[in-house]
């Protein structure tokens, strides 16, 4: 069963795009983080992108860096992250779950062991932000063996060669970057280069999800008009956790409202 394929087919029928929230597992703690997942799904999350906390997240801005630290402070570790995902998988058997994980976590565990555990846990995709195509071969080998989708990031400076390789190896979805730099809402997203979109679409049917700096519903609507299949929103949600993590109810309400609003902007036409 390919949960991404099922999801995108389903969304296409409903004339909706995919809304994927991103949070760091265990922020602000294991239990609250599980409750946040419930809130995300209840309010419209179509898929989940979950970050395994890392000490040195170089592709992330300050909001997600702090989120990693909160998670560490609450005692989270890699094994607990797998347990966390297992719980979600049991509760929500059909939702696609992707993880974002820095290379050293995988390398440390052993690449084969890591992908094997992903498969056992019911993870659908792995995105490694600090492994470019040049170094991906060994990760791709085990991803394929264990039937895990490999998510590749297509940056705005991608040339023909990069686009060809991403189209060839990327499965599940392709992560299109809204801009250069690191994650965060401080620098606003810009609409992607239409040439890049058209080249990606020519080469592959894999859906395109756009991420980095996306927090505005009008932007999302404009994005969908140019053929993007959905969005990934991280920092804008994590900012709510940062602001309200000491007041659970306020935090849940605030995240719920935000997610509902963001999801609404991905609905192209009411059925």
């Amino acid at each position: 069963m390919n949960r991404y394929k099922n999801l995108f087919n389903h969304l296409k029928k409903k004339n909706e795009a995919c809304f994927t929230p991103f949070i760091i597992i265990g922020d602000p703690n294991f239990e609250d983080s599980l409750s946040i997942i419930d809130i995300l799904i209840k309010n419209g999350a179509d898929a989940l992108e979950l970050g395994i906390p890392f000490s040195d997240p170089i592709a992330d801005g300050i909001t997600i860096q702090k989120s990693n630290l909160r998670s560490f402070s609450s005692g989270i570790n890699v094994q607990k992250c797998f347990k966390f995902i297992q719980k979600i998988r049991i509760k929500y058997p059909n939702i696609p779950i992707g993880i974002l994980v820095y290379a050293n976590i995988i390398f440390n565990k052993g690449i084969k062991n890591f992908y094997s555990e992903c498969s056992f846990t019911g993870i659908d995709s792995v995105l490694i932000p600090d492994v470019p195509l040049q170094e991906y071969k060994i990760f791709l080998k085990y991803a394929n063996i264990f039937n895990i989708n490999s998510i590749f990031i297509c940056p705005p400076n991608a040339d023909k060669n990069i686009i060809e390789k991403i189209s060839l190896y990327g499965t599940g979805y392709i992560y299109l970057l809204s801009r250069s730099g690191v994650t965060g809402t401080k620098n606003e997203a810009i609409l992607p280069d239409k040439k890049i979109i058209s080249m990606l679409k020519q080469k592959s049917n894999t859906p395109l999800l756009q991420g980095f700096g996306i927090s505005d519903t009008m932007y999302i609507k404009n994005l969908l008009k140019i053929g993007i299949s959905g969005v990934i929103c991280g920092s804008v949600i994590i900012e709510k956790i940062e602001k309200y993590y000491k007041k659970n109810i306020v935090m849940y309400n605030s995240i719920g409202k935000l997610v509902k609003k963001l999801k609404k902007s991905t609905i192209l036409k009411k059925n």
């Binding site: 170089i58 290379a103 050293n104 390398f107 440390n108 565990k109 170094e135 297509c154 940056p155």
Partner: protein, 397 residues
């Protein structure tokens, strides 16, 4: 495809976000073409001689070896303009930045020596300069912070994580991810993603080249031992490079054992040799059981880094270089000894190498041997750190 080999054996590579790959290719291309450009190479040569002050002397220590048959020579990178070997390679990288038409320089610094060298060359070549430095290091190395500011650099304090070199490196990479089109990231050591370890090595080779000529002029033979401290490892690679093929010369890299390898408070990743992926490369890394990067420790902020350049791991695996470690205590003792007996104030980084040379010398005082220590920098920047350390130990008289 890269133009040059991006690995040293199994170590090295380019582990960065995809967005930075074109910038790394551009840098590699500029470096490869510049190596064939006589005018470019002449410019480097000119600046090394007339701005930096090369060649640096090879000084025979006359007092610390008394009563032994050992001769210790110091390669005096402390006398280079800027006060450390760092000046050698910033000249090359800054000229590469100009070649790539980039007008902004990003750098990170721990002890401040790479920051000072970067600020100097940016001032000379009229390049805009911003330097990331951990808050903890800013406090430890205030004098160098002042130097950088005077030369027009913008210092950006890093308050995340350990507030040391490790986090400054992360912030500099983050900055570069958003500014690569107009900025060049001037990495200060033989670490980071390809092509940095190769480029920095090329520009530091001058140390070994001069040393070989000087020791042959002064002694007529090769030394028995060459010792250099290792944080990222640029001064060590610099002096080792020209002797790697001369197998009769033993090469020793000295890592900081900090408060002791057993305490975990050290900066010696090669002592445990746990390989991982961090700061754009596959190399030896201090990490916990789950792969989270651990905090390093050294009295010397220039060595306070949880990883090491990939070529050093390769050289260790091939048994060409032996890697040892020296504690904070031992380094401070060597610092004091060199000050009192030779009238030279060494950087705390270099004091680790001196400490190991003295250890070897004292092991067998009758053995006739020639040791060369790369005195990678001067110690003015470390005076307050040393004073505080000695006060705490109640040793200061």
């Amino acid at each position: 495809m890269t133009l040059l080999n991006s690995y040293f054996g199994n170590f090295g590579g380019m582990y960065v976000p995809q967005i930075l790959i074109p910038a790394l290719y551009q840098l590699e291309d500029a470096f490869v073409s510049s190596q064939k450009d006589k005018n470019f190479l002449m410019k480097i040569k000119y600046l090394l001689k007339n701005y930096a002050g090369r060649p640096t002397p090879l000084t025979l220590c006359k007092n610390i070896t008394k009563g032994t048959n050992t001769k210790i020579y110091l390669k005096r990178e402390d006398l280079l303009h800027g006060g450390a070997h760092k000046t050698n390679q910033v000249i090359g990288q800054a000229l590469l930045a100009v070649r790539m038409k980039k007008k902004e320089i990003i750098a990170e610094t721990g002890a401040g020596q790479h920051g000072v060298a970067t600020a100097m060359i940016c001032s000379l070549l009229n390049l805009k300069c911003r330097i990331y430095m951990g808050k903890k290091d800013i406090q430890r190395q205030n004098l160098n912070v002042l130097r950088m500011k005077l030369m027009g650099a913008k210092i950006i304090p890093v308050s995340t994580g350990t507030q040391t070199l490790k986090d400054a490196c992360n912030e500099a990479l983050r900055d570069w991810s958003g500014s690569y089109e107009k900025s060049h990231y001037m990495i200060g050591t033989v670490a980071g993603p390809h092509p940095y370890p190769t480029i920095v090595k090329e520009y530091q080779k001058i140390i070994g080249k001069e040393t070989k000529q000087q020791i042959l002029d002064q002694e007529g033979i090769f030394p028995n031992l060459i010792i250099a401290c290792v944080g990222g490892g640029s001064n060590a690679i610099g002096i080792f490079s020209n002797f790697i093929k001369n197998e009769q010369v033993n090469l020793i890299g000295v890592e900081p054992a900090g408060k002791g390898i057993d305490t975990g408070k050290h900066g010696a990743p090669l002592q445990n040799e746990k390989i991982g992926i961090y700061f754009g490369m596959k190399s030896a890394i201090m990490q916990n059981q789950e792969g989270q990067i651990q905090e390093s420790w050294s009295i010397s902020s220039g060595l306070d880094f949880p990883s090491i350049g990939p070529e050093h791991v390769f050289l260790k695996k091939n048994n060409r270089v032996k890697y040892v470690s020296i504690t904070d205590d031992e380094a401070i003792n060597a610092f004091v000894t060199l000050c009192k007996k030779e009238g030279i104030i060494p950087a705390l980084e270099s004091s680790h190498a001196i400490a190991y040379a003295i250890k070897i010398m004292n092991k067998n005082t009758k053995k006739k041997q020639i040791i060369i220590v790369n005195l990678s920098g001067r110690g003015d920047k470390d005076l307050i750190t040393v004073e505080n350390f000695l006060k705490n130990k109640r040793k200061l008289k």
